[in-house]
Symmetry: C3
Subunit: 413 residues, 3 copies
C-alpha cells in the first residue's frame, strides 16, 4: 500500500518527473536492431518515457534516435528521407546526423552559419543483444553499457520478443517479482515437475545488490536446507528469471499507461537448441502471439484475452487464458492503466514488491539529494538468476551473492 | 431552466456526490437474473453510479455484487473463478463470498488471521421481476424492497428488456415524463385510436405522492370532465406508463454519461398474450432491436439512428426513425452527454419536468439536512398508472390518489 | 518562434477568444451550396469556430444556419423537419425560420406570446462561388461580401473541392504561405518547367495590403530583374495562389484541431477547359481523393498517407506521398493538432510566415483596442495572384500593388 503521492512518484516517467529523470540515467531499449534492417532504410517511430522520437540507421550503419519534430517548424521526421549519413526532413530539406547536428540546411543557402546554430535532440544509441538502446540523460553522465548477460551472448544463444502492455510499467515490474502468483495464476500452464501446481513459497527474502536487488523465494526442506530460487532485479526495470533457459524481461515505459515488455530466453554458454526454440515459439510461455505487423498481442484487453470459461471451469487452466505471458499481461492490465495502490492489502508473500518500492523510493530520494543512481557500474549487472539448495539456518546474503555472481563472463563487451 | 450548479447537482451520481448518495439509498437494477444463469456460472461485469463491479451467483444460488478490484493488489475479479460459494481471484487465489468476506487467502497460509482483516465492498442483492437489484447505501439504512407491481407479478405477466442510452440519466427520466412530445416525436408511430396524431394535452397537473409524484395530463371534454392519464414517477428513476399492457421504465445511471434503460410491459392480473408479446417484440414500441450480444441498439447515435429522410418527408413518420424507443433515445442523446439546462425555455407543457426537478432538488436538500429520502416505505410504491375520465372542476388530488392506488396487491412479497 | 501565449492567441477560435471574435467579423465558408440541393431538403450539420450548427434551405430557397440545439430543451435540430419555410424540431414541433425567429410553437397553443419570446442563434448566410458563407459576428457590424474574384466568376470558370485537415487552421495557413517547401516537399510532384526541382527563391518580400498582405518571392535574374511570384493573403484565412489556372484556398477552423480546406482553381475570364478539369480531377495537385460520402481524404494520418518508401527512395517523389495536397496536409498534420511554435527556428525563407503572424497579432491588438479589423472593405479583395518579371533594384511595393490589382472586375456583385 502506497500513499497517493508515492504512487504518482513511482509511476510517472515523463520529462521532468523524478522517476523520469532517474530512468534517463540508464540505457533503455528502444527497438529491435532489425527494425532498422539496413543502412538508409526507412526511419521508425519510437516512444520512450513519454517522448516521441524517430530512429534511423545511417549510411554507415550508425543509429540515431532523435526528436520526432524538426527544429525548423516541427514537421515530423518520421516522414524524412534517410540518405547520405543523415535524416532529411521532407518539408524543407533540413538534414540531421545521428548526433543531432544539422548537416544540411538547403532552404537558407545564403546563411552558412545558420545550420551550425541548429541542433535536434539526439540520444546516444548502442546495439546490444539484438536491440537498440538509447541513453536519454545528461551526456556528461552517460554510463558505460551494463553487463547484462543476455545482451553479451551470441545471437544464437538468445531469443527475444516484445509485446505491448497497456498499463503502467510498475504494474508489469511488480507482476514480474510477484512470486506467489505462480501457484495460482499459471496453474495448468506452468506447473511443477510433478504435474501439480507449484507449491506456495514459505520463504521470502530480499537481498540488496549493487544492481538492484535479489529476490529469494522457496521452501524449507526437512533436512534444514531450503530449495530456493533467485530472481534478480536490475535497475530500473529489468528482471532475470530463474528458468532454464534463463529468462529475462525489460519493462520499458513508452508513456505512463503503455509499457513495452521485452521477453528474453538465453543460455550463457551455448546456443538455444531446436527444442528450446520450439518451446519459445509455441506461445505457451512468456512470448505471446502478436497481431501481424504489430506489437499488440492477439489476445488483448479488448477481447478479454479470449478467456475460455469452460476451460477455466474444467480446472485445466486456472484462468482460462492461453499462455503464461498473456495471463501475466491480462491480470496486470486488469488493474487499470495505473493501479490504485492506496487500496491494497499486502502480506509476507508481497515482500519483494514491498522491497522494490522501497528501493525505488530510496533511489529517488538519494537521487533528488544529489546522489548517484544505483547500478550504474556496468559490472554490477554481472549476475544471473537461478535455483539452488542452501542451508537456511544462517544468513543467506553472502552465499547468495556468491551464487548469483557471474564468475567468468564468457563474452566480454 | 436550471443554473449550472443545479444541473451538476441533479446529473452527477458518482460516489460522494449528493445525488449519488441519495440514489444509493434505493434498490437499483443491476442486471438480468438470467445473466447469472446458474450457480457458479461466470461472473458478469456491472457498472452502477460510476462504480465498476462484478456480479456472480454462488454455489447455493445466492448473488453477490462486489467491487471489481481484489483488495490484495487490485486485479479484476471479472476474471475470477466462481466456485464453492465464493469468487476466487485468479491472481493469488483470494476468495470472497457474496457478503464481501474473504473466505480463503491461500497465498498467506502462515497467517490465519490475515483473511479476517480483509473485506471487499459487497452490495446486498435481491432478485425481483427477473432482475438483480443492488443496494449500495449504508447497510444499517437498507430499506425493504419497494412494492413495484411489475416486480411482483409472475414472469408470465411481464416482458422486460434493456438497452443502453448514451446520455445522462436525467435526460432519459425527463424524456419519459415529457408528455407533449407524444403529439410530435412519435407521430406516425404511436398515433391516437383514430389514426391521427395524439392531440396536445391541455391540462398538466402534478400531484405529490409518497412514492415520488403523479403526472396528470389530458384534455377537457365538453361535458365538464377531463380525459386524463396518470403517469407515475417512483423515486428516484422509475416511470409507470399509462399504456395497455401497463408499461414501465427504470433509468439506471451506469455513469454520468451512460444510462441503462429498462423497459417493461406487464399485466397485473394475467399473463401477456401471444399478441401482446408479438407487439412487444416487433421493435415498433419501447423495446428496440439490439446488436447481438450487446445492450446497444442497432439504431444508435453512430449511425444517426438510420434516419430515413424520405420517410420523414412523406409524413408517415415525424422523425423518419424506426421505433418509439429509438425516437426517444435518439432525441434525448441528441442533447449531448449531459444536456445544458441553462439555455432552455420551458412552458406549461413542461410542468412535469419542472416539478420533477423541484422534487429532486428538494429531496437532495432535505437529505443533506439529515432527512429521510422519499419513497423508502415499500408500500408507497403500491400505485399504478392509467387512464380515466374525471370531473375536473374540483381538486383532483384525492380522487387521483384513489385511482392510482392498488387496492388489492395480488402478489404479495 | 512564438511565446506560448502568442501561440494560444493565434490558434484558439472558439466563442469568446480574441481570434474567435476577430474571425467572426468576416464571412466564413460553411458548406457547399449543393449540399442543400433544393428547397426543404434535409438539414446538414455544420461546425464553425467550435460551434455546432445546422444549415437548411427553406421552401423559398433561402438558407439558414442556426444553433444545432433547439432553445426549448436542447434537442438537435439536425433531426428536424425542413418544411414550409422553417426547420421544425421533431421533439415538440417548435419551428424556426432562417432568421432565427420561432414561427410555430404548437406545444403551447394557449400562449400566443410565447413564441415571440423565443429566438435561436441564426447566422446570416449568403451563397457565393458555389458555397454558403455565414457571418457569425454582431449583426450591426456585418460587412458587405468581399470581392473575392473566384466567388464572382460564373461556375463554369471555377472548380472547388474541400477536405478535412486534422490540425489547427494556422498550420494550414502558414503551410500555404511557406514558399521554400515547393523546392523540397513537392519535388517530383510539382517541379519546374525544365523537369527539375523548383529552385529556392532568393528574394522574400512581404508587402502590406488592405486585404491582408502580398507575399513576393522569386529569384534575381542576371539582367537586374527578378522573376517573381505574388501570393496573396486575404484576411483572415484565404490564399490566392500564383498558378494557372489561378488557385485559392480557404482554411476554415471547424474547431481548434480541425480545419476545412477549401481548394479552388479558376480563370477570371473564361471557363475551365476539359484539360484544366482533367488536371484538377486527377488528385495529383491540390484536390485530393476523398473517402466516399466524406470530407476525409483517402490518404490520411491514420494510414500515414500510405507513404511509399520505395518511391521516396527512388527520388521520383521527395516524400513518397501521392498528390501535392496530401503532401501539404500530411506534413502540416505531422506537426500535431496544434503545432508547438515555441521550439521553432525560423530563417529568411520563413519571412512570409513571420509577417503573417505579425499581421494577425497586430490585428488582434488593434481589434481588442477597439479598432476595425483589416480587409472589411469588399473592394480591398480586388486583387489577384500571379507571376511577373520586374526590376528589383528599386522598391517593389507600388508596382506590385499595380500588378495584383484587378482593374476591371468582370463580374460585379
Amino acid at each position: 500500500m502506497l500513499s497517493r503521492d508515492e504512487n504518482e512518484l513511482l509511476t510517472r516517467t515523463g520529462p521532468g518527473t523524478p522517476m523520469g529523470k532517474l530512468m534517463r540515467r540508464y540505457w533503455i531499449p528502444a527497438l529491435f536492431s532489425d527494425q532498422l534492417s539496413e543502412p538508409d532504410c526507412p526511419p521508425v517511430r519510437v516512444k520512450l518515457l513519454g517522448e516521441k522520437l524517430v530512429a534511423f540507421r545511417n549510411t554507415q550503419g550508425r543509429i540515431g534516435i532523435i526528436d520526432e519534430r524538426c527544429p525548423h517548424r516541427t514537421a515530423s521526421l518520421f516522414f524524412g528521407r534517410n540518405e547520405e549519413c543523415g535524416l532529411r526532413c521532407v518539408y524543407h530539406g533540413w538534414k540531421f546526423d545521428v548526433d543531432g547536428n544539422c548537416v544540411d540546411l538547403p532552404s537558407e543557402p545564403w546563411d552558412k552559419d545558420f545550420k551550425r546554430k541548429i541542433k535536434i535532440t539526439a540520444y546516444p544509441c548502442i546495439e546490444r543483444g539484438g536491440l537498440v538502446w538509447a541513453y536519454m540523460g545528461p551526456s556528461e553522465l552517460k554510463p558505460a553499457f551494463p553487463e547484462i548477460e543476455w545482451t553479451l551472448v551470441p545471437s544464437s544463444h538468445r531469443y527475444v520478443t516484445r509485446h505491448l502492455q497497456e498499463c503502467n510499467w510498475l504494474q508489469a515490474l511488480e507482476g514480474g517479482f510477484d512470486v506467489s502468483h505462480l501457484s495460482f495464476l499459471h496453474q495448468g500452464t506452468a506447473d511443477g515437475p510433478d504435474g501439480r501446481p507449484i507449491p506456495i513459497p514459505t520463504r521470502y527474502e530480499v537481498i540488496p545488490a549493487d544492481c538492484g536487488l535479489i529476490s529469494i523465494t522457496g521452501r524449507d526442506l526437512p533436512d534444514g536446507n531450503g530449495a530456493l530460487t533467485a530472481n534478480v532485479m536490475l535497475m530500473p526495470f529489468h528482471k532475470l528469471i530463474s528458468t532454464s533457459p534463463i529468462g529475462a524481461h525489460v519493462w520499458v515505459p513508452l508513456d505512463d499507461e503503455t509499457t513495452m515488455n521485452y521477453s528474453v530466453e538465453y543460455w550463457p554458454d551455448r546456443p538455444l537448441s531446436e527444442e528450446d526454440l520450439e518451446e519459445s515459439k509455441n506461445f505457451h510461455f512468456i512470448h505471446p502471439e502478436l497481431l501481424p505487423g504489430s506489437d499488440r498481442a492477439v489476445l488483448n484487453k479488448d477481447n478479454d484475452y479470449r478467456v475460455d470459461r469452460a476451460l477455466q471451469k474444467s480446472g485445466k487452466s486456472f484462468t482460462g487464458m492461453f499462455g503464461l505471458g498473456i495471463q501475466d499481461c491480462g491480470i496486470q492490465e486488469s488493474m487499470g492503466p495505473i493501479a490504485d495502490r492506496t487500496i491494497e492489502h499486502l502480506g509476507k508473500s508481497d515482500t519483494t514488491i514491498i522491497q522494490i518500492r522501497r528501493l525505488l523510493l530510496r533511489a529517488l530520494q538519494d537521487f533528488e539529494a544529489g546522489g548517484t543512481p544505483p547500478g550504474l557500474d556496468p559490472a554490477s549487472y554481472r549476475v544471473r538468476s537461478g535455483r539452488f539448495t542452501m542451508a537456511t539456518w544462517q544468513p543467506l546474503a553472502e552465499r547468495v551473492y556468491d551464487f548469483v555472481r557471474i564468475k567468468e563472463p564468457a563474452f566480454a563487451k
